[in-house]
C-alpha cells in the first residue's frame, strides 16, 4: 500500500479521488440500460425535531422490485458523536455513502484537530449526493436525511436532500423514500416541536406504522421475527438508540388503540 501520496488536504473523498482512485467506482463510465430493480432499495426514513434535539428513524425493509431483499437492513447510521445520516434509495451506494460520510467526518477531525461545524457536515453530504448523480441517472439514486445536535447553537437541526444534491434545512420534520410521503402525512397531524422523548418515540413509530400500512415496500415492526425500526435520538448528550423493547411496547399500544377504535378487540 502506498504510504506517501500527493494529496495534502483534509478531505477523505478527495484523498480517494487523487491518490486511490482504484478504490472508487466511477459511475460515469457505465453506459445506460441498467435494470435498477435488480439491486436492493431501501425504503422509508424520516426525522423530526423535538424538545431535546432531533430524532431519526428508518424501517428495516429492503426490496428488489417486488421482492424482499432484506428484512433487517439498517438505514440509520451515526456519522459521529453528534450527527446521523439516514439513507433511502439504492442500498449499495446508499450504505457506501453513509460509511464514507462517517470516515470523512472522522478524517477531517483528525487531520485538522477539530470537527467540522454541523452545517459544514451537511454541506459535505450535499457534495457526496451530487457526485452520485451519474448513478442516480441509472436508477441508483440515494436520498439521505442528515441530522445532528448543533452544540454551538444548542439546537437539533435537520436536512433533507434531493437527487441533485440540493440541500434543504427543515424547520419541523422530513421524510424520504417510497413510504416517506405517508410518514410525512402522519407527522403533519402529530408533530409538535415541544414533544418529550416518550411522545416523540410514539410519533415516530406511528409514522412508520402508517407508512408501512400504505406502502408495500415499507416494513412495519415485525413482532414474529423480533425486527423493529431503528430510532435514534440526538441531543446535547450525544446519540441514543431506542431499545427494541421500548419500540415494541409503543407498537403494541398503537395496535391496541387501533383495534379498540374499530371495536374488534377480543
Amino acid at each position: 500500500m502506498q504510504f506517501r501520496g500527493s494529496y495534502q488536504g483534509s478531505s477523505f473523498s478527495e484523498l480517494l479521488a487523487v491518490d486511490f482512485s482504484h478504490l472508487r467506482l466511477d459511475w460515469s463510465d457505465l453506459a445506460g440500460g441498467f435494470d435498477a430493480s435488480a439491486v436492493p432499495h431501501g425504503t422509508t426514513v424520516m426525522g423530526f425535531k423535538y424538545a431535546d434535539g432531533v430524532i431519526i428513524a428508518g424501517d428495516r425493509l429492503a426490496t428488489m422490485g417486488h421482492r424482499v431483499a432484506s428484512r433487517d437492513m439498517e438505514k440509520v447510521y451515526p456519522t459521529d458523536a453528534y450527527s446521523l445520516i439516514a439513507i433511502a434509495g439504492a442500498a449499495g451506494p446508499a450504505v457506501e455513502m453513509a460509511r464514507l460520510m462517517r470516515i470523512e467526518l472522522e478524517h477531517y477531525e483528525k487531520i485538522e484537530g477539530e470537527p467540522l461545524e454541523l452545517e459544514g457536515k451537511a454541506n459535505k453530504l450535499s457534495q457526496m449526493v451530487r457526485q452520485n448523480m451519474p448513478a442516480a441517472m441509472q436508477g441508483l439514486g440515494v436520498v439521505p436525511l442528515f441530522a445532528g445536535y448543533d452544540r454551538r447553537r444548542s439546537a437539533g437541526r435537520l436536512w433533507g436532500y434531493d437527487l441533485t444534491g440540493g440541500r434543504y434545512e427543515e424547520t419541523d420534520y422530513a421524510a424520504n423514500g417510497s413510504g416517506g410521503i405517508y410518514a410525512a402525512e402522519s407527522l403533519k397531524k402529530t408533530h409538535r416541536l415541544d414533544a418529550t422523548r416518550e411522545e416523540s418515540l410514539r410519533m415516530a413509530v406511528q409514522a412508520l406504522v402508517d407508512a408501512s400500512d400504505e406502502d408495500r415496500a415499507t416494513g412495519g415492526p415485525d413482532v414474529v421475527r423480533g425486527i423493529y425500526p431503528i430510532i435514534d435520538f440526538c441531543t446535547q448528550n450525544g446519540i441514543e438508540r431506542a431499545s427494541e423493547k421500548e419500540i415494541e411496547t409503543v407498537f403494541r399500544a398503537i395496535i391496541a388503540e387501533q383495534t379498540s377504535r374499530r371495536g374488534t378487540a377480543s
Binding site: F3, R4, Y7, F12, L23, K110
Partner: protein, 232 residues
C-alpha cells in the same frame, strides 16, 4: 580545473546524524506510559499546536523535534490508516504496520535527502481484550534515521530521552493507575526542564488510549481533568 570535494560516506552519515540529533534534542521530550486504563501519552507543550494525535481507533502518535516535519508525518499516518480501514476493515489498522511504514519513510529521507528529518516519533496501539491476537499493547519508537524499536511499559522520545528512560525504568510497574502514571510522567518531564523545578499542569498535553472505550479510544484530557487525576 578544480577538483570536486571528496567527502567519505561515513562522514556524510555522521554529519547528518549529528545535525538531526541536535534538532531533536532542542525540543522538549514526550513520553508514553502503559497504565491500568490503557496507554497515557504526555508532552510538555504550552502551545495549542499538538504534539500528540489520534491516528485510528486504537492507534495514536506522538512526535518531537521540528513541528512541521512530525505533524506532516502524523497527517500521512492518518491518511494511511483511514485508507487501510476503508479498503479492508477497522481491525486491520495496526500500529506495527504504521510504525514500519514510518521507519521506511524517515529512513529514506535520511539517506536520500540532503537534510534529514529532525524528528523522533512514537506509535502506540492499545490492545483490545475482545479480539483474539490483538490483546496486547504495543509501543514503537522511530528515530531520525529510521531505526525502529519496540518498548514495553514506557517510552521516552526527544532530548534527554535516555536519562528519563532510566528514571522511569525503576518506577513504572504493570497496571499503574492513570493518575499515578500522569504524576510519574510529570516528574520525569520536570527532570528534563533545566532550571525549572516544576511544570505547570496547564502546559501539559495529556492524551489517553482507553482500552475499554467503544470505537475510537483516543481521549484528550483538558488541564482540569489532569489536575483532578494528579490530586486524586
Amino acid at each position: 580545473m578544480s577538483m570536486p570535494f571528496y567527502v567519505s560516506p561515513e562522514q556524510v552519515m555522521t554529519d547528518k546524524a549529528e545535525f538531526a540529533r541536535k534538532g531533536v534534542a532542542r525540543g522538549k521530550p514526550s513520553l508514553v506510559i502503559e497504565c491500568d486504563v490503557g496507554i497515557m501519552m504526555m508532552a510538555e507543550n504550552p502551545s495549542t499546536l499538538s504534539k500528540i494525535g489520534e491516528i485510528y481507533d486504537r492507534v495514536a502518535f506522538a512526535g518531537v523535534g521540528k513541528f512541521s516535519e512530525f505533524d506532516q508525518l502524523r497527517k500521512i499516518g492518518v491518511r494511511y490508516a483511514d485508507i487501510k480501514g476503508y479498503a479492508y476493515s477497522r481491525d486491520d489498522v495496526r500500529g506495527r504496520a504504521l510504525a514500519n511504514a514510518y521507519s521506511q519513510a524517515v529512513g529514506d529521507a535520511f539517506t536520500q535527502q540532503l537534510k534529514p528529518l529532525e524528528v523522533e516519533v512514537v506509535v502506540v496501539e492499545v490492545g483490545d481484550s475482545t479480539l483474539a491476537g490483538h490483546e496486547n499493547n504495543a509501543i514503537y519508537r522511530i528515530q531520525y534515521d529510521g531505526s525502529i524499536s519496540d518498548h514495553h511499559g514506557y517510552c521516552v522520545i526527544g532530548g534527554a530521552a535516555e536519562e528519563l528512560s532510566d528514571f522511569l525504568s525503576s518506577r513504572v510497574r504493570d497496571g499503574i493507575p492513570l493518575g499515578e502514571a500522569i504524576g510519574l510522567g510529570k516528574s520525569a518531564l520536570e527532570r528534563a526542564a533545566e532550571g525549572e523545578p516544576s511544570v505547570d499542569v496547564k502546559n501539559l498535553e495529556v492524551c489517553v488510549l482507553e482500552r475499554e472505550r467503544q470505537g475510537r479510544k483516543f481521549v484528550r484530557l483538558n488541564s482540569d481533568r489532569v489536575g483532578e487525576l494528579l490530586s486524586a
